[in-house]
């Protein structure tokens, strides 16, 4: 089995999808000859030709809208937005059309497209290259929002997203693109969407996160374990629709919950998860729920991004607050 990075796994999944399904297309800015600014589409043009893998003009609304038109015609476009900091014009197309085309035509047309983008900081990038935008998408009915946290997840979830008959926004943490390698069998097997994954079992506190947050959260769990505290870690992976069952089951056992994400605090998916715990698991809680998130500030330039991104120290402190509460 090859050892691949997360960006390598994205590349493997794209190649696999292009290989298996002639309706799959890969498009976006610089995805062709250049192979994408992060190399996610490296080699795909050479392998599959310019009718399957092609550069688009520099036009984010146009890219998303083009994908809507292709998808309505039965293609499965996988469109890349170069950085999620530039995704805002495409949100109009996703909200106004991609997410509602099936409903709008009562099932006559559908929109099996994927909009991929690097999403999040920690790569010392320039302004507007480190945003976390998932909150904008989870409020859109008719969309799926998926965030991979490892090479294995990236491969399996991207394949699932491409094969899904409805539009999926696939937000890849660039901080993880080359952080770790995993053995990924290029066997074409998808992982399930709409599923939260338990990454680590534990009975003392539930840590809920997604994407790059998994790194600091798992590190926090390890150091808590060294102090005899067993944390359960849940990777939400699909932010919409939200699979609350593993989270509620865990909170029922632990009575304590910390939600960790890099996106700014207010109105982010963490708030939704907290609300659902309040609705369905409030009586299990023995301590106030904690959130460890990016601040409600503009994403700082690179000198301060470390302070913005939740550290494992902040996660540990929050977990301890829940443990010390009662």
């Amino acid at each position: 089995m090859p050892e691949v990075t997360l960006v390598g796994a994205v590349n493997l999944a794209l190649a696999r999808a292009l290989e298996d399904d002639p309706t799959v297309l890969v498009l976006g800015e610089d995805v062709g000859v250049d192979g994408g600014v992060f190399r996610a589409t490296d080699g795909l043009l050479q392998r599959f030709g310019s009718e399957r893998v092609f550069d688009t003009p520099l036009a984010e609304a146009g890219i998303a809208g083009l994908a809507v038109g292709l998808a309505a015609q039965g293609f499965r476009p996988v469109a890349e937005i170069q950085f999620s900091g530039f995704i805002y014009p495409a949100i109009d197309q996703m909200a106004s059309h991609a997410a509602r085309l099936r409903n709008r035509t009562r099932g006559r047309l559908s929109c099996p497209m994927v909009l991929r983008a690097p999403n999040g900081g920690g790569i010392r990038a320039a302004e507007h290259h480190s945003e976390s935008v998932e909150a904008f998408f989870v409020n859109i009915p008719g969309l799926r929002v998926v965030v991979p946290s490892s090479p294995t997840k990236a491969y399996g979830l991207l394949l699932a997203a491409i094969r899904d008959p409805d539009p999926v926004v696939f937000l890849e943490p660039p901080r993880l693109y080359r952080a770790v390698k995993e053995e990924v069998a290029d066997d074409g097997r998808a992982l399930p969407l709409d599923t939260s994954f338990v990454l680590r079992t534990g009975t003392d506190v539930t840590l809920v996160t997604w994407g790059a947050g998994v790194i600091e959260t798992m590190a926090a769990a390890d150091s808590l374990a060294a102090d005899g505290v067993e944390a359960e870690v849940i990777d939400v992976a699909c932010l919409k629709p939200l699979d609350m069952e593993p989270i509620l089951a865990s909170v029922e056992r632990t009575g304590r919950c910390v939600i960790v994400h890099e996106a700014p605090l207010t109105g982010a998916p963490g708030a939704e998860i907290a609300a659902r715990i309040a609705e369905r698991g409030l009586m299990s809680l023995v301590a106030p729920l904690q959130r460890v998130t990016g601040y409600d500030t503009v994403m700082p330039l690179l000198r301060l991004e470390k302070q913005f991104i939740p550290s494992s120290r902040r996660v540990i402190d929050a977990a301890i607050r829940t443990l010390e509460y009662a």
């Binding site: 609304a61 146009g62 083009l66 038109g69 292709l70 015609q73 409903n103 006559r108 008959p165 709409d194």
Partner: protein
Amino acid sequence: MAVATFEIGFTRFLDRSGEAVQPLPAFASEAKALIPLYRSMTRLRMFDAKAVSLQRTGRLGTYAAALGEEAVTIGLASAMAPDDILVPAFRHQGAQLWRGVGLIDILAYWGGDERGSVAGPPEDFPVCVPIGTHFPHAVGAALAIKLRRQKRAVVCIGGDGSTSKGDVYEAMNMAGLWKVPLVFVISNNQWAISVPRQRQTAAATLAQKAIAAGIPGEQVDGNDVIAVRHAVDQALAAAREGLGPRLIEAVTYRLGDHTTSDDATRYRDDATVSSHWAEEPLVRLRRYLTAEGVWSKADEEAMQTALAAEIDKAVTDYLAMPPPSPQSMFDHLFATLPAELKAQRDALAEEEVLHA
């Protein structure tokens, strides 16, 4: 030294008095062949009038009539083959009607019932309400056709206001770049709600906006259905031959309010509007047909009676539609309804039972 120059042509066959100003294209060589166009334009006008009156009496939601612009949508739709793809905006029910969408479907949609969205050619797009956002879809659909090497084409229509939107430039740019089989039609009715064409852009024509994208652009008299039909015919033929997209600016005039929610007297005076009634598309075609001896007063009366009956029947059927089930709002969100949405749908159903 000029490094680029351009020229925007203008085409008209029938002037306002219904006189041919140049030899007519082949499809119009027999005046009789124009009767279906005349009938469809009249049908659209009568239907629009009925829809507006339904709105006024609380039996329809907001409605955008095409009063004065009938030649644009009927002209373009009559040029399309059944398997071409229409990508319309919200005032282009004329093209939908020509392509087989029922009067009742249009009433249902504007009456707020999703069931009005089902009918129509299987690959046509629904009418687009956000201005200009449908243009990139047309490029995607046309690229799909090109990738499959099919001899079909896409027709995308928007208003003069839409040409100010970025989506429209982005779409024209992509379409020109990839030479996709696509015809853009701009129904320049001189108004975007209260903003007149001259305050929308400093460009001398809207057609020339295509030139910057490497696409031929031309103007036609949008009140002359022969001119619209002919230009779209030619553009579609070129598109099918792989010659790429074209843009046709059909110059017309919005004779009515923007929609039933609008009061145009707030921003334009009646005298200006009245002067444009002299150019409207139905009268000039009727004059021509009459002069050619293929249309009589009796024909006109018989047609209007038949159309009125058809429209009345559609209205009766529309008003008799049972209300949609509340749960139907969940029916087509996803191919398979996710668990969390099933729970929301069940909650709605329970609510309905509790408060029935």
